[in-house]
């Protein structure tokens, strides 16, 4: 893992002091709420329905045991004993007091963490594959690139007051496990013939009220050109992006209105003016960072064997385990989607328990996934059974990773000031039904995501079955979309038809699943069946 040196530590310490000063000036009235707003947002602080929410960055989803333990302690000390892991590798505390925030930030800095740019109209926490560095299908570990981008974008003076938020994801594997094509910029890292990193740059992806799959901006950009290119892309966006309507301010709209070709031309012109010498140290910096990740990799282990175990153990391993690139190890996902649970929520006690398990079984390392679960990336095969029993004791052995009951949901009307409908109770009701169905029928191979408003933080557009909560004539209504996907074949789902009441939703979802099961060819997942048969049979089944 990447460890801070004194420069990194001074950077976050100074930022913590700066934010403490800003909070004090807000409390004294020197800063108006309008002025304080962008400053607090850039430090991850939202004003929600009932309280302030602090969103803490887990850069590219990587954590060590000590850090997770601290996140658990913060949940107990400053929240109501819970934290909420998000789809962008952050954790949110929904019940923080403004007067506590500076102390929370100091506590985070003491374990090399921060809340910098987890919100606001700036470059957000850079995300990646939760299995980075361990996935069998990986060409290049994306974490050094993500860390390089974290450093480059942190407190970037020019890009702190953009037209709108700006999200970047980096991938280095054949499979997209980070919804890269739904980001403002997606980087797909590969290796050139000489074994050096090159990047396909995708632009203009996003969800919200105008969902867009990113388009290819440029192929095979060498590492030396990466930062100058991003710098030029962001500058053109900062200057030309719309500021008259916040719903039209993301780069996807600029690309729609300007056209991809003219945008490319504007970026090329900008690039021609850039002083590239500024970016020259980035190459050495990349190597310095990459070396840290390389030394943390473990050599192949001899004498490790997949245990037999009980059928329940086998089912868990099958569902939550992932083949590792290093012989002798497995990567194990811990589901935060137990039957009836709030997706992505973990208690302080659970976080500390998982931290202890990471210390014991996973080289003290953890990951947070885009689907709001945790991953232990370095589990020895011989330890798997023991780990399974330890997880069972903590109620953390739910074997449903990647299944229908592994629901992504945003906080919705229970917390969020922008929500038009509740999403948590809908997710909980569905979780009960779907988990039961999976118990009886076996794995249900589909993704189901729920958002509490059109902003789509719950990624409903990108789900095989998406649920969007709306408020029509003062009653919550849930609109369903089908066929979306967040992988390398990313697609925005098609709206099925008129919405349903909250009570109807579970029944409707079960009908959709019945329909898929009746139509599917052997072993077909939902997305494949839907691509083959289209919307009509599903429509006929639910609107009778």
């Amino acid at each position: 893992m990447y460890a801070y040196d004194t420069f990194d530590q001074t950077f976050v310490d100074q930022r913590a002091a700066e934010f403490r000063d800003q909070i004090n000036r807000r409390l004294s009235g020197a800063l108006s709420e309008d002025e304080f707003k962008p400053l607090r947002l850039q430090n991850g602080l939202y004003l929600q329905l009932h309280a302030y929410m602090l969103r803490v960055a887990i850069p590219y989803g990587v954590l060590n045991a000590r850090q997770l333990q601290m996140l658990g302690d913060l949940a107990d000390r400053y929240d109501k004993g819970y934290g909420h892991f998000t789809t962008r590798q952050n954790i949110q505390y929904n019940w923080t007091k403004l007067s506590d925030v500076a102390d929370m930030i100091d506590a985070l800095a003491s374990v090399q963490m921060h809340a910098i740019q987890t919100s606001g109209n700036c470059i957000r926490n850079v995300t990646t594959d939760a299995y980075a560095g361990v996935a069998g299908d990986e060409w290049l570990d994306p974490r050094p690139t993500a860390e390089l981008l974290r450093q480059w974008s942190s407190l970037h003076p020019e890009f702190a007051f953009l037209p709108r938020k700006f999200k970047i994801a980096v991938l280095g594997a054949a499979q997209d496990r980070a919804a890269m094509k739904f980001h403002d910029i997606g980087l797909w890292a590969k290796l050139d013939d000489a074994g050096q990193p090159i990047y396909d740059i995708w632009v203009g992806g996003g969800q919200g009220r105008t969902p867009r799959v990113a388009r290819l901006f440029q192929k095979a950009v060498p590492l030396a050109d990466l930062l100058p290119t991003l710098d030029a892309m962001l500058r053109v966006y900062n200057l030309a992006g719309r500021r008259d309507n916040k719903y039209k301010a993301r780069i996807k709209i600029l690309i729609d209105e300007m056209g991809l070709e003219p945008y490319r031309a504007a970026v090329a012109e900008e690039l021609g003016q850039i002083d590239r010498s500024v970016f020259a140290p980035a190459l050495g910096e990349y190597r310095r960072i990459a070396a840290q990740f390389e030394t943390a990799q473990r050599p192949a282990l001899q004498g490790q064997k997949l245990p037999q175990g009980s059928p329940a153990f086998q089912a868990w391993l099958q569902q939550n385990g992932m083949a590792h690139k290093v012989p002798g190890y497995a990567a194990i996902a811990i589901s935060l989607k137990a039957k009836g649970a709030i997706p992505g929520d973990a208690s302080g006690a659970q976080m500390r328990a998982v931290a202890a398990l990471a210390e014991r079984y996973s080289a003290s390392e953890l990951r947070v996934s885009h689907r709001q679960n945790l991953v232990l990336p370095w589990v020895k095969l011989n330890d798997l059974e023991e780990l399974y029993h330890a997880l069972l004791e903590q109620d953390l052995a739910e074997a449903n990773i990647g299944l229908a009951s592994d629901i992504i949901a945003c906080p919705g009307l229970d917390y969020c000031a922008l929500a038009t409908a509740r999403s948590i109770p809908v997710a909980q009701a569905l979780s009960h039904r779907l988990r039961e169905r999976e118990r009886l029928q076996g794995p249900l191979d589909l993704s189901l995501n729920i958002s509490g408003c059109i902003n789509a933080c719950g990624h409903h557009h990108a789900a095989n079955i998406g649920i969007l909560g709306l408020n029509r004539t003062e009653t919550e209504t849930y609109q369903i979309s089908l066929g979306g996907r967040a992988d390398e074949d990313a697609k925005v789902g098609d709206i099925l038809g008129p919405g349903f009441s909250q009570d109807q939703v579970p029944e409707v979802i079960e009908t959709l699943i019945d329909t898929w099961q009746a139509l599917r060819a052997d072993g077909e997942d939902f997305a494949t069946t839907y691509a083959r048969v289209g919307k009509q049979p599903f429509k006929e089944a639910v609107y009778v």
């Binding site: 040196d5 420069f7 800003q22 000036r25 962008p38 500058r235 900062n238 850039i274 002083d275 910096e285």
Partner: protein, 160 residues
């Protein structure tokens, strides 16, 4: 030059205010005399090349939420503008760092803005901020004090 471009000449010397410079000094001063005062929308029409020969340019921030003038400053510096670049308008003390690091020489602030944030916050504007970025683009020659000097990546590469 400004006449040939048919621009609104800056209102020279109008209004009381304060200037904050890149060394952190903060002094009462009338509005500076500038060759050109620009709002972000206007730059596109003028063309960058026409601006380069000017001695001094003021870029206006209409609200603290609009960061276009930071990018305009950087674009001007990248294109080789060597004159004095001043940020004016609705800025916050917290944005002084952004301005200097984007290529401005200093800020000029109206009296009411200085009073509302209080003078002390402006005086401390360059003290209580993260002074060293990981990657810093070319700074104006006038910059001195905390914000001047090599960035983190340069220092690391030199083994400091």
């Amino acid at each position: 030059m400004s006449d040939t471009l048919d621009l609104q000449p800056a209102e020279q010397g109008a209004g009381e205010g304060w200037r904050l410079d890149g060394d952190g000094s903060f002094t009462a001063a009338p509005m500076p005399t500038l060759d050109l005062l620009l709002e972000p929308e206007a730059v596109q029409d003028l063309g960058l090349a026409n601006l380069l020969p000017l001695q001094s340019i003021g870029l206006v921030f209409k609200t603290p939420h609009d960061g276009r003038s930071f990018s305009l400053a950087r674009r001007l510096r990248n294109a080789g503008f060597d004159g004095r670049l001043v940020a004016l308008g609705r800025l916050m003390p917290d944005q002084a760092r952004h301005a200097m690091q984007s290529g401005f020489d200093g800020l000029w602030l109206e009296q009411d803005l200085v009073e509302r944030h209080n003078e002390a916050a402006w005086r401390a504007a360059l003290d209580v901020v993260v002074a060293r970025l990981y990657s810093q683009q070319r700074l104006p020659a006038s910059l001195a004090g905390r914000l001047a000097g090599p960035d983190i990546w340069q220092q690391r590469s030199q083994g400091q």
